[in-house]
């Protein structure tokens, strides 16, 4: 079915914070799609990952009468009142990546299925270590929703398939590359038996990999997790990271725009199937659209992805 692009609409994309590569990859895709969909596109957000900053931006978007707000949230509940206000004024809200409260948005584009991603995270290291190895987790912050979902999923998968692998410590890098590096170093120094670190956060995976290389433990300690390919390319090539799952952030950005356009046109229902140009066909189930299966980067394929 063709998408009606007759009326020009204003769509904003509000990431958790501007200045993180993964979100810029979304932006890259969104911009391309916006052109073909007759969308006035705006990429804006707070500088630090603060819900308050996002709410300020939402408020201004409401005042400027945007047609659709798309966002990945710093805090599902804190953003809800502002987004509900937006919806009351007829603005469509599409969340992606990190969801907001279900009643505060029209659709949610989930990167990948949580359980599948948990599995991919485990597999990114489990193949390369002993079945009774000690591993560590390096995440972003203790209350990061999506990271916590993934960590839960990976623990479930771990206990089912690798019951003897032990998680000895969970540390946090606050999404800051430097703090992640320090945390990574500390993990390895304080727990000399750790042979793998799973870092389900962009900054954390880079920090963990850098820490392993600094300590000269490359080859002895495997790093897994998820991050955008640009940040980790060198570590994948050097072998510190064997494989690492993500999804195609650029294409996800495109999908966000398709959903925004369709939502503005009132062309998709809470449970429906739709086609998003070259991206293919997607299904909304109870307003949730799963974007893709995990895309696993490794030495061989990583150069195909530039974001």
């Amino acid at each position: 079915a063709d998408i009606d692009t007759g009326k020009r609409i204003k769509v904003a994309m509000v990431p958790k914070l501007v200045g993180l590569s993964v979100f810029k990859a979304n932006q890259q895709g969104a911009e391309t799609a916006a052109k073909s969909l007759n969308i006035d596109f705006l990429y804006t957000g707070p500088v630090t990952a603060s819900a308050q900053g996002q709410v300020d931006v939402f408020n201004s978007l409401i005042a400027r009468r945007f047609n659709v707000i798309t966002t990945t949230s710093n805090n599902p509940t804190q953003l809800a009142p502002a987004l509900k206000r937006a919806r009351k004024q007829g603005i469509k809200v599409v969340s992606y990546d990190s969801d907001v409260a279900a009643d505060a948005r029209d659709f949610f584009i989930q990167n990948t299925d949580y359980a599948e991603f948990g599995k991919a995270l485990v597999e990114s290291v489990a193949k390369y270590i002993k079945p009774d190895a000690e591993i560590a987790i390096l995440s972003s912050t203790p209350d990061a929703t999506i990271q916590n979902e993934w960590i839960n999923a990976l623990k479930t998968y771990l206990s089912a398939h690798y019951p003897n692998i032990k998680i000895v410590t969970t540390q946090y890098g606050q999404s800051s590359p430097s703090q992640s590096l320090t945390a990574g170093l500390n993990i390895l120094q304080a727990n000399p038996n750790v042979t793998a670190i799973i870092a389900p956060d962009g900054a954390a995976e880079v920090g963990a990999a850098a820490a392993v290389e600094k300590l000269g433990k490359s080859g002895k300690v495997v790093v897994g997790g998820c991050s955008d390919p640009n940040s980790i390319r060198q570590y994948v090539k050097s072998g510190t990271i064997r494989e690492t799952p993500l999804w195609d952030e650029v294409k996800e950005g495109e999908l966000v725009m398709y959903v925004a356009r369709l939502a503005a046109n009132n062309a998709i229902g809470p449970n429906s199937t739709f086609t998003a140009g070259d991206l293919g066909t997607f299904t909304a189930k109870n307003k949730v659209i799963v974007f893709s299966k995990p895309l696993v980067f490794n030495k061989d394929n990583i150069d195909q992805y530039q974001f």
Binding site: V18, L42, T44, G45, P46, V47, S50, A51, Q52, G53, V55, D56, V57, N59, S60, A63, R64, R65, N75, P76, T77, Q78, L79, A80, P81, A101, P142, D143, T145, N148
Partner: protein, 355 residues
């Protein structure tokens, strides 16, 4: 400042207090003019800034929590101190409230009162460290802000409570008497109270004395420690209040939700004409600065400027305003500036050589 009148030599004058002591001094008046111009300019030039009276007033809901913190912080800065823990206090108090409500099923209103008390206690801890251990306020409150933040994170757990009762959320987003936001009503009442407290009461006079010279105040029989302690308690309670209003506004809490408050609030207080060295400043100035920076930020955001441009502009305005203030009051480069500063500050170390 008082006009430089010629002292009638040898004759004792008991002239009445002049206009300079009214709450609206020269600086406040300039800020007020600037505020009016700014709001008028934004209304005319920024589409969506004035969506009707109610919508315009509703804009204040986005920044009045800063004002609440500013009132408390002003009290502390007037004593010559500083409170870097306002953000962490706001976060922790709100978390305490939310956890009581969701974990122990305490009524949200009672929980809110406990939250305010918690703010007072946190402020008292600051005050006690400063008065008992004689730690620099800057360091003491920096340290406690780290500690409070840890406690807040620990209390909040991985998924902090959210979805407070609608009646409670009205504190953040409700209106009273027609279109007037409840927040605005609360802020106005508190601003009035603080004006009375700091500028017309004996307590306020004592605060100012301590701010100008805590040594002299001590020799005058003031209980410095008590006064300083109460200033930090007030700051703690006001931070907690801001945290609770934010909680109602978002209908959610987060341990780090107060972090944004600190730097902006210091900027507000200083722009409002409060001397960072203590003693000098008025609530009226601070209130105007709250509105000035608040509307500016909202206007810029609505006009489509990014968060960062707004932040930069705020910094530039702060520097420009204080620079102009200094130039107009004859400070600046060279000896005159030095002398002015010496006379104004720290008699303890510079002596009264310039009497």
């Amino acid at each position: 400042m008082a006009d430089p009148s010629n002292p009638g030599r040898n004759e004792v004058t008991a002239r009445r207090r002049n206009a300079a002591r009214l709450p609206l001094d020269g600086w406040e008046r300039s800020l007020l003019v600037l505020l009016v111009l700014l709001v008028a300019g934004l209304c005319l030039s920024v589409d969506g800034f004035y969506p009707g009276f109610a919508g315009f007033l509703a804009l204040t809901e986005n920044f009045l929590p800063f004002g609440l913190v500013a009132l408390g912080l002003t009290t502390v800065i007037l004593t010559g101190g500083i409170d870097l823990s306002v953000g962490a206090t706001a976060g922790l108090s709100a978390i305490v409230m939310a956890e009581l409500w969701s974990g122990l099923h305490v009524s949200i209103w009672l929980a809110a009162v406990v939250g305010l008390l918690a703010g007072g206690v946190l402020g008292a801890v600051n005050g006690l460290i400063i008065t008992r251990l004689r730690t620099e306020p800057l360091i003491a409150t920096l340290a406690t802000s780290f500690i409070y933040a840890s406690i807040a994170t620990a209390l909040a757990g991985p998924s902090p409570p959210a979805g407070f009762p609608d009646a409670f959320n009205l504190i953040g987003t409700g209106t009273l008497i027609g279109p007037i936001p409840l927040q605005l009503v609360l802020f106005s009442v508190l601003a009035l109270l603080f004006t009375l407290l700091l500028q017309y009461s004996t307590f306020g006079r004592r605060i100012v004395m301590v701010g100008y010279s805590s040594e002299a105040a001590r020799y005058s029989g003031l209980r410095i420690d008590r006064i300083v302690l109460s200033a930090y308690v007030i700051s703690g309670v006001m931070s907690a209040f801001a945290g609770i209003v934010l909680a109602a506004y978002y209908s959610a809490v987060r341990p780090d939700m107060g972090d944004v408050l600190l730097l902006s609030t210091i900027t507000i207080v200083v722009l409002g004409g409060v001397s960072i060295f203590g003693g000098e400043g008025t609530i009226a100035g601070v209130v105007i600065a709250v509105l000035l920076l608040g509307f500016l930020r909202q206007g810029m955001l609505i006009a489509g400027y990014s968060d960062m441009v707004t932040t930069m502009l705020t910094g530039a305005i702060l520097l420009g305003a204080i620079a102009i203030k200094n130039i107009l009051s004859g400070r600046g480069t060279g000896l005159a500036a030095l002398l002015t500063r010496i006379r104004g500050r720290r008699p303890a170390t510079t002596g009264s050589a310039a009497e």
